[in-house]
């Protein structure tokens, strides 16, 4: 009679043991996977070779994994270091190399490589592929123009890219205008504001959008003060020293508020800037 109980008990014990081990194994594998997310990569040529007939799908997969890696990093509240950014850049570049018409890597690259990774040169290198292959897409050269102007401080190059963008179908009419202004303006605050507005319209990412809005608002504040300074000079024949001067002369009754939490001021050389330096001020 005892024999009829032994086997079921043994089976039940084995199942229980298996479940425990499986749970343990799973957490170990997850830890391993997180470690692996150092994002190693293969040279583009090797990927192309291995992808065989499925290049486009492999491009999608590489991009998707990079996207979720980046999302995971952000969710954990970490900031990627330079090496990680390099790895992310290389992965997006690989995806774009496999399918140069694929639009997501370019938008993602523009969103993170410029503002967060401080890699505008690499961003433009990536976008250049998009510019060449997506010949009907005006956004590619537009992004490049913005980067050249805003990050690389190369107004001539920025203007050239913008001209190209304006010639492509579907481009916003503002683009040509911006190109022209880039060639002429000295400081370029107005241009920058227009650029930022256009950029915001082209961005899907909510976080980036609000960043751009803040930036545009800060620059608008600077612009307002710059115009006030100009009028002061016209009226009084000399430059104002502080914002007080502008306020007291009723040219600027209200001082604009810096959305980054800093205070606008007039520098000794006459340029208008803010103590926040256009970065969020932390207590």
């Amino acid at each position: 009679m005892t024999r009829s109980f032994v086997l079921p008990i043994v089976v039940a014990a084995l199942i229980a043991g298996h479940l425990l081990v499986a749970l343990q194994l799973q957490s170990q594998r997850v830890a391993m996977a997180q470690e692996r997310e150092q994002l190693g990569y293969l040279p583009a040529a090797a990927i192309r070779l291995l992808a065989l007939d499925y290049r486009d799908l492999v491009a999608d997969l590489i991009f998707s994994r990079t996207l979720s890696f980046h999302g995971g990093v952000l969710k954990r509240g970490e900031k990627p270091d330079a090496k990680t950014w390099q790895a992310i850049y290389r992965r997006i570049d690989a995806a774009s190399e496999l399918d140069p018409y694929f639009v997501d890597p370019y938008y993602f690259g523009q969103a993170v490589l410029t503002w967060d990774a401080h890699m505008p040169k690499e961003a433009n290198a990536l976008l250049d592929r998009g510019r060449r292959f997506r010949s009907d897409d005006w956004v590619m050269p537009f992004f490049m123009g913005f980067n050249a102007f805003y990050f690389l401080h190369d107004k001539a190059q920025g203007a050239a890219y913008l001209m190209e963008a304006s010639r492509r179908p579907g481009s916003s009419p503002l683009v040509g205008l911006l190109a022209a202004r880039l060639s002429s303006e000295s400081r370029g605050t107005e241009t920058a504001i227009a650029f930022l507005q256009e950029l915001e319209a082209q961005t899907d990412d909510v976080g980036v959008k609000s960043d751009l809005r803040n930036r545009a608002e800060a620059l608008r504040g600077i612009s307002v003060i710059e115009q006030a300074v100009k009028r002061y000079r016209e009226i009084f024949g000399k430059s104002p020293v502080t914002l007080r001067d502008l306020q007291e002369s009723t040219i600027l009754p209200q001082v604009p508020i810096d959305p980054y939490g800093g205070k606008f001021y007039i520098a000794p050389d006459g340029q208008v800037w803010t103590t926040s330096d256009l970065r969020p001020v932390t207590e």
């Binding site: 040279p43 007939d53 499925y54 486009d56 999608d60 639009v103 997501d104 993602f108």
Partner: protein
Amino acid sequence: MKHLWPIAKITFLEGLRSRVFFGLFIVALLLFSSTYTLSYLFPRDVVKVAVDLSLAITSLVGLILTLFLGTQLLAKDLERRTIHMVLAKAVSRSEYVVGKFAGLSLIIVCSMIVLGGFAAFASWTVDLLTADQYGVVHWPTFVLALSMMTLMLMLLASVIFFFSSFVSSTFLALGLTLVIYLIGQSVEELKHFLETGAEGVAISPVFLKIVTGVYYIFPNLAAFNFKTQAAHGLSVSLSDVAWPFLYGVFYSGVMIASAAWIFRRREFT
């Protein structure tokens, strides 16, 4: 060559009713149903990814189908001696080879029409349910990609036939064809990579010559890949299509003619 149709027809029926066929279609259906959910992982190019996925599934299932049915329908004939009953009828060896190939090609074409239909439906669903800002499916290039894929599979089938004509084991014929597939898909890429110079790696000219030789002997299967064009709706000129098409026809022709020639000399104990 008037006995082609009876041979083609029984080959067609035999392949159609095999379990591999049925099982693969079930797998394909399951894979296609994932297209919708997977496409949405992407921010913008949703339709492109849907097309990528559905065409990739079609390609993969079509490949497995071709490899298995191709070996089953010929090499198994030889292994199990079913060929005796066919050749004892007033059917020449050439008619046999060509007729069987016609039957297999018919199965491949019909399968690709069905699989392509599923692929089209999956892509169309995603297209329908997303705003047009995410792109639309360009049907002419989509159909073109499917057609060239089918031609590629028929070429592969002709290679299977060629090997089966002198190799006795189904397993060996399958293995050889798989190797040809892998080489055929990568040789163009490898040759290009070697010619344009690798990143600081020294290339021996002998190796380059070997790869060039391989490029001309082995079928360049990458030439039949129009999936990128289909995913982005890129324009395709007539010569872009005509040359690969002719290449496929000629290469398959050489394979089948050689197989028939080898068969004439072959004994069936």
